[in-house]
């Protein structure tokens, strides 16, 4: 029930304060320990490679040695960016495995559900404040993060 109240609180109290509350609730993006992973760049096939062919090859695969979790990322054209993304996803998965209730993934998912419900309840308001827009944007970012995660899981299946 408390969860339902906070969007209303956001309207009543100062925006700085509610932003603070929200920031506290969401655990920070977890980090992965480089010593605990192996990284493989997925191959460009059996051909000669180099100047003879021009193949996009930005796929990165990480394995988390203590848990055996494997993730792959080839979402962007940049291998360097995929390396970063793969680490973010792996870290979230490891955190989720260790503490499913309080992981960033679960809390993001819960927020998304709450948001959907309150959206239904809320009557349409004409003028939204800047703070609300910001909060909205942040929520959207979090949602994108979740969707991105989901899409990666799907890709693997």
């Amino acid at each position: 029930m408390r969860q339902f109240l906070w969007p209303i609180q956001r309207q009543l109290f100062s925006t700085a304060r509610s932003a603070h509350v929200r920031a506290n609730k969401l655990p920070p993006r977890p980090k992965i320990n480089e010593d605990e992973i192996t990284e493989v760049f997925l191959k460009g096939g059996s051909g000669p490679g180099g100047q003879k062919i021009n193949k996009t090859n930005s796929k990165v695969q990480l394995k988390h040695l203590p848990t055996g979790i494997v993730v792959e990322c080839q979402a962007t054209r940049s291998r360097e960016q995929n390396r970063k993304k793969a680490r973010e996803i792996l870290a979230m998965k490891v955190q989720h495995l260790h503490d499913p209730e309080n992981s960033r993934t679960s809390i993001l998912e819960q927020r998304r559900m709450n948001q959907a419900r309150t959206k239904q309840k809320k009557t349409k308001k004409k003028h939204s404040t800047l703070a609300e827009e910001n909060a909205q944007r942040k929520l959207q970012q979090e949602q994108e993060e979740l969707e991105f995660l989901a899409s990666l899981v799907k890709q693997k299946e």
């Binding site: 490679g49 180099g50 100047q51 003879k52 996009t56 940049s78 291998r79 360097e80």
Partner: protein, 278 residues
């Protein structure tokens, strides 16, 4: 190239009208979907159809989108200049990690710089002075544009490596010279779209380049070098050009297990750590 499966074409059509066009070149539904995604992300909607048509004819994605990521850089690409390869990106980043902190007076030269991708990465990662040279005015022009685009300052100059009389001193020489033999270039060893769309000047070459590069290493009093290669004999050629009493050479393999570079360092010099690359 794998065959195009009819069931994939049907699947592709259901997803998007544009997808079969991309699929007809990539042959893999998975890759086609990703490529279409990037086209839709990076180009305005009114150019999607034309982009997919070009892709179906084999025009490289990087020429269609106008860029290729390379390490931390966003490298502008256009016809007339070779598209940077992932193998090159890989060894260049490893090289930067291997030599790590160098002092301000360290000087590196990138010969056959093309888009400038190697020279600009060295500058960005190492912060040392870098000079890039190429014989092609189109390549030099693009290198300068890439320098501006990425906010990385490198001097680019015209020079024919085969008739160079470099007198300056450099610590490190790197190069990705044209290395494909004419025999392979005219056979099916080289992908059709490479021959059709990328400049032959950037692709066809052989022993003469490795002779010339080894010569430049000695004349500039460099302490180390990395040259990309396409065949193991190019490693032998380079090694034989340098006095074995002072120089150590080693063959570097890319992550696909192919011989990809000849790496050399002067014994007991500050660049002896290049051995960690191989």
């Amino acid at each position: 190239m794998p065959r195009l499966s009819p069931s994939d074409v049907v699947k592709a059509r259901k997803i998007s009208k544009l997808l079969p066009l991309v699929l007809s070149h990539t042959r893999s539904l998975d890759l086609a979907s990703r490529e279409l995604g990037w086209i839709q992300l990076e180009l305005p909607k009114d150019r999607w159809l034309e982009a997919c048509r070009q892709r179906s004819r084999g025009r490289p994605l990087q020429y269609i989108l106008g860029s290729q990521p390379f390490g931390e850089l966003d490298v502008k690409c256009r016809e007339g200049v070779l598209i940077p390869r992932w193998e090159t990106e890989e060894w260049v980043l490893k090289l930067c990690n291997a030599i790590g902190g160098v002092d301000k007076r360290f000087r590196a030269m990138d010969i056959c710089c093309g888009t400038g991708c190697i020279a600009l990465t060295l500058k960005r990662q190492l912060g040392c002075e870098v000079v890039g040279v190429d014989i092609s005015e189109e390549a030099l022009e693009l290198s300068r544009e890439n320098s501006l685009r990425n906010g990385v300052e490198v001097q680019f100059m015209r020079c024919d490596v085969l008739s160079a009389d470099a007198g300056d001193r450099f610590d490190l020489i790197v190069s990705n010279p044209p290395y494909i033999s004419m025999d392979d270039y005219t056979s099916s060893e080289v992908a059709k779209s490479v021959k059709l769309y990328e400049p032959q000047l950037a692709l066809v070459g052989g022993g003469e380049f490795y002779h010339a590069l080894a010569d430049i290493v000695q004349r500039t009093k460099a302490k180390g070098f990395v040259f990309e290669l396409g065949y193991e004999w190019q490693y032998e050629t380079t090694r034989q050009c340098l006095p074995a009493a002072q120089w150590e050479c080693s063959l570097y393999y890319d992550s696909n297990g192919k011989p990809r570079c000849v790496v050399g360092w002067m014994k007991h010099s500050s660049l002896a750590q290049l051995s960690t690359l191989c």
